[in-house]
Amino acid sequence: MNERSGLSSKQRRKLTEFLFLVPTVLAFIMVIIIPFIYGIYYSFTDWNGVSTSANFIGFANYKEIFTNDPQFIRSFLVTTQFTILNVIAVNVVSFLLSLLVTSQVKGKNFYRAAYFVPNLIGGIVLGSIWQFVFANILPGIGKSLGWDFLSKSMITNANTVIGALVTVNTWQYAGYIMMIYVASIQGISKSVLEAAEVDGATYPTVVRHILMPLMANAFTISLFLTLTNSFKMYDVNLALTNGGPAGLVGTNIVNMSEFLALNIYNTAFKYSKMAQGQAKAVVFFVILMVVSLIQVSYNKSKEVEM
């Protein structure tokens, strides 16, 4: 930086720059750092959510949620299952759609815009709409066509409810991820693809061996986005199934589609166990952090530099 431009003017510069940092740093400390530290601390206490004071009880909350909370175990497993299925479904569908809307098909600009629409709407609204579709429209169609598999609501059956959630989330998210793939495909030099075709490569070969390796960066971004979003899914879960239906796991009755984010909220406010809810939130944070780190470093190592 410039050395001696007069002390007062330099000080004034520093003061301005300091003031420029104040709002964000203040908000960062007040909204993220302090609640985060409190959050970690409360997970080791018997905090009741009202007072700021609490008694330290060590790992008791963690022990409780892992050994004596069948709903948490179910929520953990079902969230994992949903995340895996959803990441695959969203990415496969979006990738295929991105090939479709970058082909020579007529009206592709309309398709792009149309597929993107669900992504603009909030999860509460989307979940409510799909609840109507699953509870009324699809069974209605099933009955009038005499198709048995459709005539029962997918969201009241434990075997199909995850499929329903994957369907809605894919519908909501595919258009967005598709546009990330489209941007990536458009960034690939045409001459590379043309050279491959001159060499007689078939379309699947071009996609598999040229297009996909060059899109590695887009895959990293999309996998990361879908992975974290699936794992954190809350709004649609709440509005579409609210955790239901109830089902039997072992000898315990649990909510079959209550994902972790919903379970954390319910533990605190429905079952009034604030400290245990906080302990679950800390576990949730650790899992999310570890998974993101593994996923990013794995994908980075596979990316092709162009």
């Binding site: 908000a27 409360y42 609204v125």
Partner: protein, 294 residues
């Protein structure tokens, strides 16, 4: 537009082109069908819907009655919800954008140990999920509000301040990446001309950031507008201040199985964003994609 990346010198087989078109249309129907269902069922009476869920409206004029009963419903209070959503979204966006741009600029232009550390803190915070801070945030904001004599819960200032905290990390990250590529010469020239540091930022740097503003506004705007959990926790479900997602959820909770009215409420809730999308489609898609890639 340069869109046909996967295209050989020879046009593809006409049969295949027709097949692609059919796929495109079928997928479009799947994607747009839920919206059609909302509109169609907004035009039916609840008796019609219960009698047969699948069917066309018998007297579409019912639509206006349905809209009127949702619009005038005190539980839903759509006008108030729109107003509060607009106030919270617009003010949050303005504050997040300006404050983050100021911070990113200072961090880029001062390469010190501290600025690096601060930047790394903002980046690291992006992996912190809302769930891990949300419970302590409520009690902390309550106590902070009592201490400062500014209501932090059930009020505009509290939620806007919270949105600044949750939104700034990513926004600073995006601005930071862009400002690095802005040449220093312009700022130095302004400096020599005797421009103050603040003047340099607001007159020279800020206008140059216009392209990233689209990204920042779209990403944060859609997030805040559609967010449900933060308003639920900081405003509560029966607060004076309530956003559209809170209103929809509250309405649905109190009108169980009144499907025609529920469909109207979702239609009203979607309308503002859909209208905006019709006019600014290009910018919205661009902003979302750029935000993910950067």
């Amino acid at each position: 537009m340069q869109t046909d990346a996967v295209k050989g010198k020879n046009a593809i087989h006409p049969g295949r082109k027709v097949a692609l078109e059919i796929i495109g249309i079928i997928v479009s129907i799947f994607f747009l069908m839920p919206f059609a269902i909302v509109v169609l069922n907004s035009m039916r009476t609840n008796a019609e819907i219960i009698n047969s869920a699948v069917g066309l409206p018998q007297s579409p004029g019912v639509f206006f009655e349905n809209v009127a009963s949702v619009w005038n419903n005190p539980t839903f209070n759509f006008v108030q919800a729109i107003r509060d959503s607009v106030i919270i979204t617009v003010l949050s966006l303005a504050i997040i954008s300006i404050c983050s741009a100021m911070t990113a600029w200072v961090l880029v232009r001062n390469k010190t140990k501290w600025s690096n550390f601060l930047f790394m803190m903002f980046v690291a915070a992006m992996v912190i999920p809302f769930q891990v801070v949300m419970f302590p945030l409520i009690t902390w904001f309550r106590d902070l509000g009592n201490f400062l004599h500014i209501p932090m819960l059930r009020s505009y200032p509290g939620i806007i301040f919270a949105y600044l905290g949750f939104g700034e990390s990513m926004t600073i990250f995006i601005f930071h990446g862009f400002i690095k590529s802005v040449p220093l010469e312009l700022e130095e020239a302004a400096d020599i001309d005797g421009c103050t540091r603040a003047g340099t930022f607001f007159r020279i740097v800020l206008p140059l950031l216009q392209p990233v503003f689209v990204t920042v506004l779209v990403l944060n705007g859609l997030w805040i507008w559609n967010d449900y959990l933060l308003p639920l926790l900081l405003l509560g479900s029966n607060s004076e201040v309530r956003t559209i997602p809170l209103a929809v959820q509250g309405f649905i909770g109190s009108f169980v199985k009144q499907w025609n009215l529920i469909m109207v409420s979702t239609l009203l809730a979607m309308l503002p964003v859909i209208i905006l999308y019709l006019f600014a489609q290009k910018y919205i898609i661009q902003g979302m994609v750029d935000g993910a890639i950067k």
